[in-house]
Amino acid sequence: MAASAADVRSILSIPAPSLAAGPSQQKKQPTTQTRKPEGISRELYSLIGPSAPSLVTLSKPRLKQKPNLGGGSKVKWECRAFKNPGRQDSLELRHWVRASTAEDAEYPFAKYNVPSNVFTYSQDEYTRFLEDKEWTKEETDYLFSVARDYDVRWFVVHDRYNYIGGVPRSIDDLKDRYYSVCRKLVRNRPWAGDETSKAQTIASYLFDKEREITRKKYIVSLENRTPEQIAEEEALFIEVKRLEQNERRFKKERDELLRTIAGIESGLPDIVEDEGLSNLAIDTKKKKNRGSVMDADSPAIPAMPVSAPIVKRPQTAKNAAFDAANCIVRTDPPTTVPVTKAAHQPAHLRSYKLPVPKAAVQPKITAALAELGISHSRLVMPTRDNIMQLESLLEATTSLVEIKRVVDKVEYDIRVLKTRLGMRESQGVEGRPGEAMDVDEGHEGDVVGEDGRAQSVLSTRSARSRKQTRRSMSISSVDTSGTATTRAGTKRQKRS
């Protein structure tokens, strides 16, 4: 449907161009059309033509990018001799380095050669501060040299510590001596920094030998437990946890009780915040209930928040006047229905709560109303009055249906009795089957009894009357089931 240039011209009423310009334009057009955009296959282009969507041209398919491995240029390596500044001798090892690295570059691993800083002390310092009757200077010197050799790794220091002519020392003895010497040196030497840093440094050399020994004793005793002891310990632990939990629960319950009885005078905080989020909902509900209870029972406490929606307001004269002035009509909640969550009536439109006839009689009512030409299912204006009228209409229809049913029954009875009378007159009395049926009749209800006798009489005669029996039976069964449901209903009410 492409509009040609001629169409455009005719629309805009432009005169046709001269012949010289025409061919050049016509020539130009095919060149632009044949140029295929990047990233679209030739076949696809020939199919869809120049009206290719721009999205296709944006996503140009490409092969996976080659990983960039260091620029791709060749790297020249050289085997060079190097000297390690960590060594005192002139050993030269050879390793391969990039030719680009500087000839006199420092050995990259030299920076990891960190000497351990272990204190040294002079003879003078030793005699002034560090004398200890347990340790000679020689042994202290030896301890410090071993500590320096093994970078104060105490397990190793203790393992390698072998002072000839000395008493055997435990790892705690060594640590104690070492750290006490360090502390004394820090304390007595001139300190460059401020006091806090000095205190910190001293604190870092703190060592409490007695505590350390006790701690190790604990570890040993912990490891030496027998499996029975471990099991017992675990059982005890669980028991303690349980007891703690119980106690907490008791405390909580007691607090709650106090709060319920004494209210704010109990001096307990009203909101318990230590419960988890899951308990929160229950908690608030509990509080609500509590609030309602207190409102009803002890209105002397006005501080309690009134949050109960189901509370019955006392119908005072003032309230009534207020309601009348504001056209407020209060509907009492159905008193027979128990006060449960399901019975709670939220705000609603009246049209949602149109009265409906009872399910058992509904078809009959519908039929009766239809006969009268009234539609009860649709209320154009569900105002309060209208609904009341509809309700009364339904009630009237129900009673009408009921009355009709009774009338029908009575008429039927009369007809049956008349027939029987006619039969008795025509022929003699047959007592036997009647007696047998009388027994049955005693068992059945009053209403059915009539039918039963009729059936008993008729059964010997016709199949039609047998059919009727069945009907009566069914009626009786419906009745009993009906009573059963009502009974269940009352029971439920009682329970709740």
Partner: protein, 431 residues
Amino acid sequence: MVNYGGDEVSALVVDIGSSSLRAGYAGDDTPKAIIPTSYGYHNTGGDEAMDVEGSDATQKSRSMKRMYIGQNGPSMWREGMEVANPMVDGLIDDFSAIPPLIEHALVDVMRCRPSEHPILVTEPTWNTPANRERMAEIMFEEFDVPAFYIANTGVLNAFAAGRGTALVIDIGKDMASVTPVVDGFVLRKGLSYSTLPKLVHAHARHILSNPTPMRRGIELLPHQLITNKESVDLNAPPRFSIREDRIAGTTESWRIWAENREVDEWLMSVGTILEQGWNDVAAAQRPAKAYEFPTGYNTYFGPDRLNVGEQYFHHPPALVATNPNLPKHVPNLILETFRSCDTELRQVLSSNVVVTGGGTLFNGFVDRLSSELGRSFSHAKIHAPGNPVERRYGGWLGGSILASLGTFHQLWISKEEWQEHGKAIVGQRCK
């Protein structure tokens, strides 16, 4: 390269064990040369003559020995060839054989010139200072190495497992040892070792060579001494003919070496350890395994094959009563180590147990060990490489890692230092 902390200076690593000598370049994951430590030799010079000439000549006569080293060394039968092993209880006892062994590995197998490479040698924890100084002397004086270092196998095994702190359980051909390593240092006071593998070997030999009601004693003739054999039924007496021409020229030492090898082969292919401790019912449930000896005799081994491995973990009371000097079994070694270690270390050591050495490739060893450890240390964690090469040559691998670290190169004992300080430098530097 700095990222990995590696800086390779083409160092060589030599790890000498009772069974084999491993050598290779630092930075590799497998040794290039693995040759048996046992070697065959002929005495070319007259022994009597040397004894007369005195001590000076003894040294000379040793070098006059014609030695057969390498894969075709002891295993090839030669008339009158003796077989010797320089190692006794994991330590080098006969240093005269060490230079030829190392030279064979480095020059003949690896084709490199020792004088151009720094060399790292391993030593067991119980090595004596005299031994390591002797080793340094051999390296500097005979091989003219530019730098030398001697490192502990316990530490190296921990390094091979990627740990600085570990409890290394090493079962070799001759020795079983438990070494606590903390921060890359062996705690010498916690070391415990015994000649347990020898006991297991002796037990296996006893089982094989002693007749039972079911079978006769088994002849442990090596295939080198058998001309031909016929396939025979299960438990039937073997039908083979001995190479009579070789019997006369076979020396006692070679025969012992060959028989030991037969025992070891049987042990490693048939022997199994019950994972959950000895239990007669469980032992009876295990299927018997068939094994054929070089003579052609073949039979099934049932409880025997389980019984033999049990020696690693449990000694029957009767055996203990008769032999007071029984080597300690593995649980005892571990217990002893833990007892002599600081209580604080027990936790960290038991959660870093490194199992290494060819002996631990015994079927079911690691499972049994973990069940034994689990009884006393519920949190025990065992690191046992599944790769048999890593398990057998863990010490070499650790040396390979150590000697290729950039930070290690300041620890080498250079030739200059050796000449300046003498033997004392070894003890100072290699802590």
